[in-house]
Subunit: 361 residues, 4 copies
Amino acid sequence: MSGNTFGKLFTVTTFGESHGPALGAIVDGCPPGLALSEADLQGDLDRRRPGTSRHTTQRREPDQVRILSGVFEGVTTGTSIGLLIENTDQRSKDYSKIKDQFRPAHADYTYHHKYGVRDYRGGGRSSARETAMRVAAGAIAKKYLATMGIQVRGYMSQLGPIEIAFKEWQAVGENAFFCPDPDKVPELEAYMDQLRRDQDSVGAKISVVAEGLPPGLGEPVFDRLDADLAHGLMSINAVKGVEIGAGFACVAQRGSEHRDEMTPEGFLSNHAGGVLGGISSGQPLIAHLALKPTSSITTPGRSIDIHGNPVEVVTKGRHDPCVGIRATPIAEAMMALTLIDHLLRHRAQNLDVRVDTPRLS
Amino acid sequence: MSGNTFGKLFTVTTFGESHGPALGAIVDGCPPGLALSEADLQGDLDRRRPGTSRHTTQRREPDQVRILSGVFEGVTTGTSIGLLIENTDQRSKDYSKIKDQFRPAHADYTYHHKYGVRDYRGGGRSSARETAMRVAAGAIAKKYLATMGIQVRGYMSQLGPIEIAFKEWQAVGENAFFCPDPDKVPELEAYMDQLRRDQDSVGAKISVVAEGLPPGLGEPVFDRLDADLAHGLMSINAVKGVEIGAGFACVAQRGSEHRDEMTPEGFLSNHAGGVLGGISSGQPLIAHLALKPTSSITTPGRSIDIHGNPVEVVTKGRHDPCVGIRATPIAEAMMALTLIDHLLRHRAQNLDVRVDTPRLS
Amino acid sequence: MSGNTFGKLFTVTTFGESHGPALGAIVDGCPPGLALSEADLQGDLDRRRPGTSRHTTQRREPDQVRILSGVFEGVTTGTSIGLLIENTDQRSKDYSKIKDQFRPAHADYTYHHKYGVRDYRGGGRSSARETAMRVAAGAIAKKYLATMGIQVRGYMSQLGPIEIAFKEWQAVGENAFFCPDPDKVPELEAYMDQLRRDQDSVGAKISVVAEGLPPGLGEPVFDRLDADLAHGLMSINAVKGVEIGAGFACVAQRGSEHRDEMTPEGFLSNHAGGVLGGISSGQPLIAHLALKPTSSITTPGRSIDIHGNPVEVVTKGRHDPCVGIRATPIAEAMMALTLIDHLLRHRAQNLDVRVDTPRLS
Amino acid sequence: MSGNTFGKLFTVTTFGESHGPALGAIVDGCPPGLALSEADLQGDLDRRRPGTSRHTTQRREPDQVRILSGVFEGVTTGTSIGLLIENTDQRSKDYSKIKDQFRPAHADYTYHHKYGVRDYRGGGRSSARETAMRVAAGAIAKKYLATMGIQVRGYMSQLGPIEIAFKEWQAVGENAFFCPDPDKVPELEAYMDQLRRDQDSVGAKISVVAEGLPPGLGEPVFDRLDADLAHGLMSINAVKGVEIGAGFACVAQRGSEHRDEMTPEGFLSNHAGGVLGGISSGQPLIAHLALKPTSSITTPGRSIDIHGNPVEVVTKGRHDPCVGIRATPIAEAMMALTLIDHLLRHRAQNLDVRVDTPRLS
């Protein structure tokens, strides 16, 4: 209820600050009998891990996850799964200068007013470091979804002013940007190199897609699949916008253009992004998210301190110049967590539903 | 858990189908001692009500709400509030032709596969008629927020291709479009008249703003204020995109441009839209939502029936050619419900927080 | 979250005061495809209804329930079910005398301090009249459970000092006390007649049993089946104690006596009351509950008024001299609601579990 | 939703098996600014710890707890608190013999049928070892409640056939049984010594009391304070019965005897156990719980194996001959967790309630 839990039937509850001793999570509701090992989680953690290219923060964290419960003799038991990652590369002294200052566009000011006390080291709980546990939990969800033929994948679709058209999934894993077009990578690298020289940061757009979904996931009227997905994606640090399918392009569309007509062979388009009336249609589920530029930059900015006095803030420390670069695995995790939760919710109520109508895709 | 409840501490649970005998809601968690009468709810219900201009559906519903409990001698008692609106103008026979067909872009196909059975009359539970109860419940939330100096208002910011810049709140209540610029109204009317002649529909963009918020509302890390707001707004029928503050414009922004600098006199800009780290900053909370064009149009479209055979669908009946036109009060309601819920959540945990730092705005 | 909802997957949310215009409930999560009509609910409502014998309150309420949504062409659609019962026989003037007084052992004092305002007419929300909606919702649960071969039944096992050994189910429906031993009925009637002459009230013990359960229902470690059942039963007005199986008799039992040994033919005893480790074993689920004597009696009692002054309270109005007499259908409803909720929770997570071990009973 | 979380606003989510590497918990919703250290938790953990007398299991566990997040510079920050206890004295080989057998009265049979797979070592998740995390979390709740003048304490009120009348709090901490009457301790010791010679186990009754409560805690109608307390207490391993105040003695009481009359000086009795209409009255909150005898005994018992064949089971390993002996701190923890949760729930909704009527006690 204080916000550290995601999901209703497949729940993830997390703890941990940027510079505390460890991050942790409890995953509750995972079906029993799923083959699961720490290696299954490590893959996605490594994709999100800091310090793997010159374009991300240089903090070195192995992000080695341990499964402490809920798995016995290689399979899940249906009981709660405890996960733990120890922090190893904290440099808290970097933050002593700004402990009484509010960095512009950062959560310093709001945490201070909400709680009256805050762990200022590296942003404490507001640091994107907490997303490591989302990725670990999301990897469990992904593994279960895979057993049902559902695959969740994401890619970067825009970096600052550079739009990236989808080309191929293969390329996504082969560059530091999760860029689906290998020909675009040099342009992205040049842009980032210049950005660092400018001591500035930039936003990005990420797209996530789930394929192999059955129709029927989503609970009208408030917990529609797209509403819960929007919740999950918007809860990622720095996200300021979420679109499903055609998204904001819908505004200027006409009904005769937007509607996805159906034939016995399948849908003729997917402007809906795989959701109709808040329920999955069986088409690919498609979402886009906008991430704002990192607030921690070394270009001085005007702000105030906790006493209300004006100060000039320069954020030292190690930061991502574009938080969007490492956001793809996080977005995938939130989509996977949303989907597994709705899969369990759907089958709780609709176990016996049998319809003869062919499913389209 | 099956999706008919919104909120965690101030909860709204609803029932009712488009052509059933009545719509209802239970509001739980409203603080005691709030002066409340049916008239307080009727105002917003009348703003959402169908049939008040030629640009919306011609179904005539008085949408007269009754308060059945939770209010005694003019004030709330802290117990659950029962609300009821009777349906009076159903024409179910309009729907007999399409009971075995799936209208393209409508929820017919997904409800059928989710539940195996559905009330096809007017869309049943998937009809936007259910939003009447959101508006009724939202009016209670608005009234309580008003006692704390918080005001939630919305307006149409785009109709199809026509962008509408904000001009004044006064104008919003004086035209059928919730248009904040009186000079734009004739253009909107002409567009809608042509649209009806084209037997087509169109999308729209709505903007919602809350002013007077204290800093501190929102629960990191998953139940951020913006994440829960995105959930609420995306749960409205036809919504395909949600933005907070600068939204998708963030993607191309640099950090030095996006960050809202602070001085002792206040924030210098509001790209964040009033949320930092998922917590309200005290600046106006700003959200934008994209609504798709109505799927029910009389232009024939390709589809299938429940046996999988190809059919040509023409949706008769009475429909809004632009669902966005009546969406402003609904969006306000969802923002108000999100805010009151977070207000209660915040004070449950942080009752004793006192900070000396001045609050900015 | 403010307490008017029961269940997590099959949820019941209720509203309504003793002397308000109506009582209502929303049942969410009912599986689709269940044949359901108002007659299915009326049977249990009539069993709980006041005024059917001289041993209960003489308030006359038909308790006629209407289904306002969620059922289409005779079957549930999977969407939320709205229920409504109008109050018809309020006599609010009976209560004007005590509006500023706290009746001893009643909720007057605590509601006053909790909310600062209360509907004093007939106890307002604290009246047992709200249990009508529990019974209506419970009847839906019972009907679904019956389709799975699960039957929930209860009986009176003690009235004041008179202990009642279980004899036969048939008898339970044939007397005003839900007494399973027809030979005991005259003694109960004589006791109640004397009690009325004494202007006093008395407690009772009710027993509830579910048969036909599969093993596996219940969620360790906090939401054990017995823990959630205790929650449900203790939430009934006037209940002060709950036992599962042997209950408090366990305290003096030895392990060699208490343990229910197993053979391939089945369990050899059922001290556990059908729950092991918080999970149903497949044996009958057995619970007992203690109800305190009605607090509203005409024998004068010492109390204070809302200004803190001493007063002598005499509770006029129409009251049950033993609230336990009408409690059996309510207890059945709460057990049925607990079971259906756990049935849905179990299958959400454990859909694919197949074990070859024979099930015992 | 899968049962590993307790509470709604102050939530405790736990993981861990008897013979896994560690136990853990996440406490969410703790108000910020509470002074807290590991020493605050260790006191109660030591009271529950195994192996401190010859009357409990001889497994040696230091139960040393670490706080991994949510506390900064000695005070809580309002963010989630991660807790970890490493297991150090597992002897899993003790269990290889019974891995394919169902111990009578144990959770083996029900876990097997629920999940199809189970960690048989020491009972896995069904072991009372998980209660260590309840006690750790409960200690945080107790510390916060203490700042509001609320004190939660418990004692053993019956061991097998030996009833123990309350004498003094001082004595409770000075013997291995939490016995409030020092003169009874030799009798208890003699009973336990004989019990071990008999290779048997026995039940117990524990009583828990909270003093210093304000009136007003508890949410009608389903989440009454006593209903949620019954949930919490019944969720403790081996508990088969819960009473509030007079409990089952109510059944034979008359209304004129049971009702707790009020005078300006206070209540004249406390049969209600501190709860009226599900809401705290300000009197001491009193609950009693019945614990069954340990199922793990060395006296052979009849059972079946997972193939359905009859077997004779002898439970070796290290077990408590009376689980009730270590249950007092666990019961205190569950009462404290219930109270803090309701304290936060109450003030979320009723922040501004001010009544002039004097509070009684």
